[in-house]
């Protein structure tokens, strides 16, 4: 669905992505694993248009995303759930969600309908609908960030480290939500440190190391422990 070809992104002179190619497949969960500093978040921000790629292409169907501005990419249906939630702390839960529908402009009634659907999906958010987002717990903020992205009616959800800074029991809850979204047939691209958990949900995975995709495949066909050792401990065992 989204084909990324030879993307290069750098911070000044320091190259972070040195030619990344991968494909996010329609109706499944594609997971990107890799150690800290491998360039995972850089890739998300590059797809989202917030960082500019020096070269390479990102094709969504017939549309080229490289070179578009962030809001244009959201309009194309590629919507990010950023790392550390990044909700609007001084705005209410409802306002946060309405902000998610900015890219749609039209159809006022539809926005209200979607808002209702998101609040149905996350009853905890409904209880806190008029509360400022900054007062929510970490898990609730993560739900809000997911809900805000859903308000844009995304074709692809990019999720950057949804487990960061959350208690293990909340992480389980967030992954159940992700699993639910996958089961609804949504296309999800998940970047995650918690490889064990991510591999349980992924249909496909890639391994990013020092700005290169070094490995990829179907989680069912590889030994998870082996893969995790390779991803995070630098072990070069063949799998």
């Amino acid at each position: 669905m989204l084909e990324i070809r030879d993307i290069r992104t750098s911070y000044g002179k320091i190259a972070a992505l040195k030619g990344v190619s991968l494909e996010i497949r329609e109706g499944g969960l594609t997971c990107l694993l890799g150690p800290n500093g491998a360039g995972k978040t850089t890739l998300i921000w590059t797809i989202a248009g917030i960082l500019k790629a020096q070269s390479g292409s990102m094709r969504l169907g017939d549309d080229e995303l490289a070179g578009l501005k962030p809001h244009q990419i959201v309009e194309k249906g590629v919507v990010t759930v950023p790392e550390n939630r990044l909700v609007f702390p001084e705005m209410t839960v409802t306002e946060n969600l309405v902000a998610g529908a900015f890219s749609r402009r039209r159809q006022k009634g539809d926005v209200a309908e979607d808002l209702d659907a998101v609040l149905d999906r996350f009853p905890r958010l409904r209880e806190r609908a008029s509360q400022e987002a900054g007062t929510l717990s970490g898990g609730e903020q993560q739900m809000l960030a997911v809900g805000r992205a859903l308000m844009a009616r995304p074709k692809i959800l990019l999720m950057d480290e949804p487990s960061t800074g959350l208690a293990p029991i909340i992480v389980e809850e967030i992954f159940e939500i992700i699993g639910q979204l996958r089961d609804e047939g949504r296309t999800i691209f998940l970047v995650e440190q918690n490889a064990n958990l991510a591999l349980d949900y992924a249909d496909h995975f890639y391994l990013l190391e020092q700005g290169h995709v070094t490995f990829g495949g179907d989680p069912a066909t590889v030994d998870h422990d082996d893969l995790i050792a390779r991803a995070y401990l630098g072990a070069r065992k063949a799998s």
């Binding site: 248009g49 609007f88 705005m91 902000a99």
Partner: protein, 299 residues
């Protein structure tokens, strides 16, 4: 006692104009996280556009008002391009230094075009003095106060009840979150800049119409008053900007009466100093101290 209250009235009136100046600064700062040092000089351009119209064709108050606001907006659009749009968002210091340069440039342009020391600006003289018991309210002061109140109410409505306002608030709350939510950051920033300039233009018009004469010093004056009021009230808070303006106005009016012009200047800066030491968050600081800390770090 009567003096004290009378000064208070005068102070609140001029303070509401300071509040408008501070609102302009705050809007730009809130959305851009950058200081626009050329704000006062954009207003200066507007005021002289109004004065020129007055001198050339003896135009009425309404066209002069329109010319003042339009001049401020046009000059601000120039500042926005030169010092903000073409300078990267994370280079806040570069924007500030560049806007300082544009300030000098605009001021020099106005000084070249209008070489006399001062020019006449039309006043509301036809209106009668308002009497409130033993107190007097100058009609232009009443106009200042009313205009400020109406503008603040309108701004509040705009920011809390419209989609545009919601966009502005997302931008001032978290820039990156706004981008991933599909906000066209550049467009909203330009519109906010224009809005701030228009508010500044209104404030400039009211101040010029109260004084009846203007000089090229007004730009610097407006920048100083707006900045001081903003810092007293609390960086990045719209309510704070207004409160800071009113407090500054009242303190100045009292000091002017009891201590004279030089005493007034001393009091102004003493107030700024005290605010920075005792209330670094301002009178109406933002609740979210983290966002503020970040904002301050980025200056």
């Amino acid at each position: 006692m009567i003096d004290l209250v009378q000064n208070m009235l005068d102070g609140l009136a001029i303070g509401s104009a300071y509040g408008l100046l501070a609102l302009g600064f705050t809007l730009i700062f809130g959305v851009m996280r950058r200081l626009n040092m050329a704000f006062g000089s954009s207003i200066l351009v507007g005021i002289f556009a109004g004065a020129w119209l007055h001198g050339q064709w003896a135009a009425g108050m309404i066209p002069i008002f329109a010319a003042t606001v339009a001049g401020a907006v046009v000059a601000s659009a120039y500042v926005e391009r030169m010092s903000f749009a073409w300078i990267r968002g994370d280079a806040a210091l570069a924007s500030m230094a560049s806007s300082f340069a544009i300030w000098m440039q605009l001021e020099e342009l106005v000084a070249r075009a209008f070489p006399q020391r001062s020019y006449a600006f039309p006043t509301f003289e036809a209106l009668p003095m308002l009497e409130l018991g033993p107190f007097f309210l100058r009609p232009e002061h009443a106009a200042m106060f009313l205009t400020a109140a109406v503008l603040v109410a309108a701004l509040h409505w705009l920011l809390t009840r419209t989609l545009f306002g919601l966009r502005v608030r997302t931008l001032s709350d978290s820039r990156d979150a706004a981008r991933v939510s599909g906000v066209d950051v550049g467009r909203v920033a330009v519109l906010t800049f224009g809005l701030a300039a228009a508010i500044g233009g209104v404030a400039g018009f009211l101040i010029a119409a109260t004084d009846g004469q203007i000089s090229t010093k007004l730009g610097m004056w407006a920048t100083m008053k707006g900045l001081i009021a903003m810092v007293i009230g609390g960086l990045g808070s719209l309510r704070g900007a207004l409160v800071g303006g009113l407090v500054l106005g009242v303190v100045e009016a009292q000091a002017q009466w009891y201590l004279g012009a030089s005493g007034r200047e001393i009091c102004t800066f003493a107030l700024l100093f005290a605010a920075l030491i005792l209330l670094p968050q301002g009178l109406v600081g933002r609740k979210d101290t983290l966002a503020r800390a970040e904002a301050v770090r980025r200056i």
